[in-house]
Symmetry: C2
Subunit: 271 residues, 2 copies
C-alpha cells in the first residue's frame, strides 16, 4: 500500500509545487515527441535560451530535460552546434494494417535479413492462438528489418501451414522474396487469400544485451514489443508475430474514435 | 553500413542456426505475452520441464528466457513454488477512446492523485498542437493514477481554456472530482460537449530514476510514453496529454482492419 496521504497533495486537497525532476519530465515529454515527429528543422534543437523561454522554466530544468533525452539515445550534444537529433525516427501507422515496409519504403531501401525460415513444431500456446490442432506443424520466419542498412525491428512470425508452406515454396522459386516483402504481402501473394483484421498488443520492455546487439541499439533504450495475430478475410488466424521494434527509432501512431469506444466491445472498435 | 553479408544468412541465401540468446528471446516473447494476458492460472508459470517440452528447447534456453522476464520485473523465482508472476498486468484497449479508468475500474479502486491543476502559459509547441493563439493560456493537470493503491500511469494533460477552466470550476465545487474521474469524463461533463476522435502516438522509453520513484516501478523496466491529442466532436482540439504508462503493468490492445488500411490515409483508418 502507498502512503495514505499522497506526496503531491496538501491536507486541503490542493496540489503542491512539483520538483525540478517533475518539471524536467514534462519538458522532456514535449521535446521527445517533437524529436520523434521530426519537428526540428535540420535535426538541431533550439538552444537553451530559446527552450527556457518556450517552457517558461529554469536553465537547470531545461538541462535536466535534455539530459533525459540524451540518456534515451535520442539526442546528443555537439560542440559548436548544440543539441542534435541522433539518427532518424519513423512513425508507424498502427491503424492501417500495413506491414512496416509498406510505410518505410517511402523513406529508404527496406531489406529484411532472413534469420530463419522453416517448418517447426510451435509451442502449444502458439498453436492454440493460431487455432491449430495440438502437435500441428507451423512455419517460423525470423527476419531483421533494415532501412538504409539501419536495423529497425526484429520480427518473429509463426504462420499456419496452409499459409506458411505455400509462402516458403513461393520464396524458394523467387529469389529475394522474403528479403523484399512484408509478411502481409507474402501471405496475400502466396495464398491468394486477402487478410481481414489483426489483434495487436503493445508492450514496452528493456531489451537484453543480445537483442540490443542484433538491433544495433545503444544500451539503455527501450523496445516496443508488439504481438500481432492476423486473420484471413474468412476469419481463420493466418499468423502470430512477435515484433521487436526499436523504441529509439519507431513510434506507433493511430487515430481513434470516441463514438466507436462506446458502442463496440473493447478491442474491436477500430474496425 | 552493416556488413554486406548479413550474419544470419549463408552464401546460398538460406538461414543459419540461431544462437541460444535468439532462442531465449523467442521463448521469452511468447511467455511475456502470456504473463501480460494473465494466462497463468494462479500466477505460477509451468515448471522448467513443462516449458522445455512446450518450446522444444533446452533447459539452458528456458532458464535464459525466464531470466529475461525476471530482469524485466515481470516474474520472480520463489523457493518451493517456482516462477511466479509479480504484480498484476492490465490491458488497455487502445481502440476504444476510453480513459484508462473506464477500463481499470472493473479491476479495482481507481484513484487519480492530483499533483497539479492550474492555469499556465503552455509551451509554444503545445499551444500550436491545441490550435491556441501564441501566448494563450491553458490548464495543466498532472495526475498519478493508482489501481488499488498501485501506481499505473502518470498523466500530464494540457487543456484548452474553454475546456480546462470550466473543468477546474466544476472540480472546485465538487469534492474529489479530479480524483475520481477520467479526463474524458471530466471534459464531457464540464463542457457538455462530446468528444470526437484522438490521435495517439506510442513510444517506448526507459524512465529516469525520478519517474521510476513516482510510479514506484523497479528500475530496469520500460515506460510506454503515449501522446494523445483529443478533439471535440466539432473538430477543435480539446487537450494534449503525455501519458507515462508502466510497461511492466500495462499493455495497449487494439483490433485493426486490413481493408481500412488500403482505402484510408495512414493514421486515420481506425475510425
Amino acid at each position: 500500500m502507498p502512503d495514505p496521504k499522497p506526496k503531491g497533495e496538501k491536507a486541503d486537497g490542493s496540489a503542491v509545487p512539483l520538483t525540478r525532476a517533475d518539471r524536467a519530465r514534462t519538458v522532456a515529454s514535449v521535446l521527445r515527441r517533437q524529436v520523434m515527429r521530426g519537428a526540428f528543422f535540420g535535426g538541431v534543437l533550439p538552444d537553451e535560451r530559446a527552450l527556457i523561454a518556450e517552457f517558461g522554466t529554469s536553465r537547470n530544468t531545461v538541462r535536466e530535460a535534455l539530459g533525459l533525452l540524451r540518456d534515451e539515445g535520442l539526442v546528443e550534444r555537439r560542440r559548436g552546434v548544440g543539441t542534435v537529433v541522433v539518427g532518424r525516427a519513423y512513425e508507424h501507422p498502427l491503424g492501417a494494417l500495413s506491414g512496416l515496409a509498406e510505410v518505410l519504403q517511402r523513406h529508404g531501401e527496406v531489406v529484411n535479413e532472413v534469420r530463419e525460415a522453416r517448418v517447426i513444431r510451435p509451442p502449444l500456446t502458439v498453436s492454440r492462438r493460431l487455432a491449430l490442432p495440438d502437435g500441428s506443424k507451423a512455419v517460423y520466419l525470423e527476419r531483421l528489418r533494415r532501412v538504409d542498412g539501419v536495423p529497425l525491428s526484429l520480427d518473429c512470425t509463426y504462420l499456419i501451414p496452409e499459409v506458411g508452406e505455400p509462402l516458403l515454396a513461393h520464396a524458394a522459386g523467387t529469389p529475394r522474396t522474403l528479403e523484399n516483402h512484408d509478411v502481409f504481402d507474402l501471405i496475400e501473394t502466396a495464398t491468394g487469400t486477402p487478410l481481414g483484421s489483426a489483434e495487436v498488443s503493445v508492450h514496452a520492455t528493456v531489451p537484453d544485451p543480445a537483442t540490443c546487439a542484433v538491433l544495433e541499439m545503444p544500451e539503455g533504450c527501450a523496445l516496443l514489443a508488439v504481438e500481432r495475430l492476423t486473420f484471413l478475410a474468412d476469419g481463420r488466424p493466418a499468423d502470430l508475430e512477435f515484433l521487436h521494434l526499436r523504441g529509439d527509432r519507431l513510434t506507433l501512431h493511430a487515430t481513434l474514435d470516441r463514438a466507436a469506444g462506446h458502442t463496440e466491445p473493447a478491442g474491436s472498435s477500430l474496425l
